[in-house]
Symmetry: C2
Subunit: 472 residues, 2 copies
């Protein structure tokens, strides 16, 4: 039992080291950063190789992001061949490019051969064509063909994200033969959870999960235990759609096939998890009026990327202003209207964005479809009326008391009900309509919804006031 | 080669059936729904068992959501023991409760025994205590203990989400023994990707991935190939934190241990993918001012859940209104101010929410930390100034021309620069501060940011105008 105790001690030591790297908030700890910084300053390669060389790629990635740019480059240089290039898949694009641009192409070519093909593609795809070609030309033939094939598929497709290393066997092999083959072949992928069954032309016949292999007697033929691969993913499928297949069918990995149904790679759940995160993030950023930006982007490129959205909002803001302009005579007589009008518009805007957020998300997750659309529309209208009534009473009382004018209270209450109803309608119908027109509702809904709630809010409140004070 | 061809034909047939269930938008197809509806109306059990009984749990879940409530209950009744209860983990909570409440507890107890423990817990946890106890009391002893243990852990912890079925072997077993054991034991979990190594008291010693077992010679002892399990998850760990471990270390499954480091279950990536989706969704909904609501919630409960956010916004709206109230004399003289003031406030609000969205998301993904906070703050201020200047010129020109008054153009331009600067500061500092105070920035940031941009916008514009027209 001696070995066993050693193992747990090792595990504890590793745990301790792990705890040292991060502080309690899950951020690289100050003390570890100072330690690494000092070793870099001293060019103490031994210490760095010991304390940084064995980090998990994501830990090394976090460390790189915490270091200053000069330290980062020095660390990569000092670690030399001990630097784990897969860490570059864990950092911001700007940091990745900064590090790669500072290395000779020959060294990158060397490093890329050690990586799984999906990681290699991840690093190569952002380089300019010239560097990419030079690095590829220095790779062995098979490696070059494999990476080229993945790089030839468009960005954000399954083919671009797939790993080209996989285990494939002919259907007439037995389970025993398959296990023996795996014991002897050294060219297996780092990690895999299923084995593919192919014909001599690489046409995909089926797949077997490793746990199934484990449960099966050695003499059984693979074709007898393989399952149909109805979730094979065409290489040109959008990565988001592929991720949805993984989610729906709880897949750990899936075969990627070309247009002739030949096996070209495998998509694994860890890449899919990244895609899911990325897509959820895109929806959130789009709803906030931000495009594809990263924290490491420069001031100028960030400014530029945010201008279009602000520009669209500017146009709609002038539209709302011109609605107010229709009633300038009334406002001159009763200034209280100018004071109160942003309340009506603002509350409508908030109610509208509540409905819109729920709708956009439900459309993205396919929870909202033709089967429940009517029910949800009716529900939102109901919610709009109820909350409209609640806040109409509240705002009417406060406003009427503030300006000592019950008429004003009544007018703002009526305007609130109208605008909350408009907000509910706009919040659900605009995203539904955009989705029908194949426009991403996350991008475009907010601007239309607030235009409606601003214009209706101002028009209802100022229009009612004009009418009331003119005819009473 | 005969069998092989049959297999591909089978696969194609399955593909065809799959294509029939969904239309091109990925929604249950009308024709399939009509077909199932007719079979339910005819009480045609044979057709239903053939066409619905073999569906994947997620397909059956989608079908249940598309059916009308009476059809749903009838389908479950007609399928009887052929109804796959795991489909209930794929539907809205309201639908799940509706179906389960319509079934006798004895039938649920029967069905629950067929499920993986994580699915069983998922269905049981929403039932009221009485039904839960009655169902559990009808289960065999071991099953009852296992489910009870998972249910005893708090909601949203790893212990609640774990599966209590796992494969565990002693360290002195050889790889060959382990494979033989798996070939013979019929009590294995449905799917697994690693084997745990434990001592006689169930203390976790290590784990071996299945692919590692495959590559290793039969005579090698498990303890020689096992790796340390430094990613063992305490059962009380929050599911979001557990999901982050999975993401960071690309795990497929992880051991769940109790407070004595004894193995109690396994958390698998498919459950973690659901958690990741759910957490991303929560952030999005919170930023849109919506709490934990589902599409199937009733009008009243939806109304109620959205009121608090609207109430907070009401208070801040009155705050902004009272800022306008300070300048009512000026507005009475120059009504154009009332027309233009929402533009200044609105543009600031949009710019602020851009910055805030990026900040909240970066905090959630831990991309923003003490190491880059200063750089990001500086960047946002820079962006605020540049976009402030750009839109100041634009709005100044349009407003000045509209009202034929260059002074007005100059005033609104100056107010825009001030408000865009305030928006940038508020957009980054408020989420950072809330995060420091351990308040979820996704929930609370928006209201504070728009309060700042409204109040600063109105104050800067109306204040500058008052000062200018008084002293010129």
């Amino acid at each position: 039992m001696e070995g066993q105790h050693e193992q747990t001690d090792d595990a504890r030591a590793a745990e301790g080291q792990h705890a040292d790297i991060y502080d309690e908030d899950g951020v690289i700890s100050q003390s570890f950063l100072v330690h690494v910084g000092a070793a870099i300053a001293d060019r103490d390669t031994l210490t760095l190789k010991r304390d940084v060389g064995d980090l998990h790629q994501s830990e090394l990635g976090d460390l790189l992001e915490a270091l200053a740019p000069e330290q980062r480059r020095a660390l990569v240089e000092l670690l030399g061949t001990d630097f784990d290039f897969s860490a570059l898949t864990e950092v911001d694009e700007a940091i990745r490019l900064d590090i790669v641009d500072n290395l000779p192409n020959a060294q990158i070519a060397q490093a890329v051969q050690e990586l799984d093909s999906d990681d290699a593609v991840y690093i190569l795809e952002d380089l300019d064509q010239e560097d990419q070609d030079e690095i590829l030309s220095q790779l062995p033939f098979t490696e070059r063909i494999r990476l080229r094939r993945a790089l030839d598929y468009p960005e954000e497709t399954a083919g671009r994200r797939m790993q080209t290393e996989f285990v494939a066997v002919p259907p007439f092999w037995t389970v025993g033969q398959t296990i023996d083959y795996m014991r002897e072949d050294n060219n297996l992928p780092d990690r895999f959870s299923q084995i593919f069954v192919i014909d001599p032309t690489f046409k995909l016949l089926g797949a077997v999960d490793l746990d199934k292999i484990m449960r099966t007697k050695r003499a059984v033929k693979v074709e007898e235990v393989m399952h149909e691969t109805r979730h094979a993913i065409p290489a040109t499928m959008d990565q988001e759609e592929a991720a949805r297949e993984f989610e729906q069918y709880d897949l750990l990995s899936a075969a990627v096939v070309d247009e002739n149904e030949r096996l070209v790679g495998v998509l694994t759940i860890d890449d899919v998890v990244d895609v899911i995160q990325q897509e959820a993030e895109e929806d959130l950023l789009r709803m906030g009026g931000v495009g594809d930006e990263e924290l490491s982007d420069s001031i100028l490129s960030t400014s530029r990327s945010r201008v279009p959205w602000l520009l669209v909002n500017l146009v709609t803001a002038f539209l709302a202003a011109s609605v107010i302009g229709l009633f300038d005579a009334t406002i001159q007589q009763i200034v209280a209207l100018a004071v109160l009008m942003p309340i009506v518009a603002g509350m409508g805007g908030n109610a509208g964005s509540q409905t819109m957020t729920v709708t956009v998300r439900a459309l993205a997750t396919k929870d909202l479809d033709i089967y429940n659309a009517w029910r949800v529309i009716r529900r939102e209208i109901g919610v709009g009326f109820i909350n409209g009534a609640v806040f109409a009473v509240l705002i009417g009382l406060v406003a009427g008391t503030w300006f000592g004018d019950p008429n004003l209270g009544g007018i703002i209450a009526a305007a609130m009900i109208i605008n909350m109803f408009a907000a509910a309608l706009a919040g659900i119908l605009i995203p539904l309509l955009l989705d029908r027109l194949n426009i991403d509702p996350a991008v475009a809904s907010a601007v239309f919804v607030t235009t409606v709630t601003d214009c209706v809010g101002f028009f209802a409140f100022l229009g009612l006031a004009t009418w009331w004070f003119r005819y009473s």
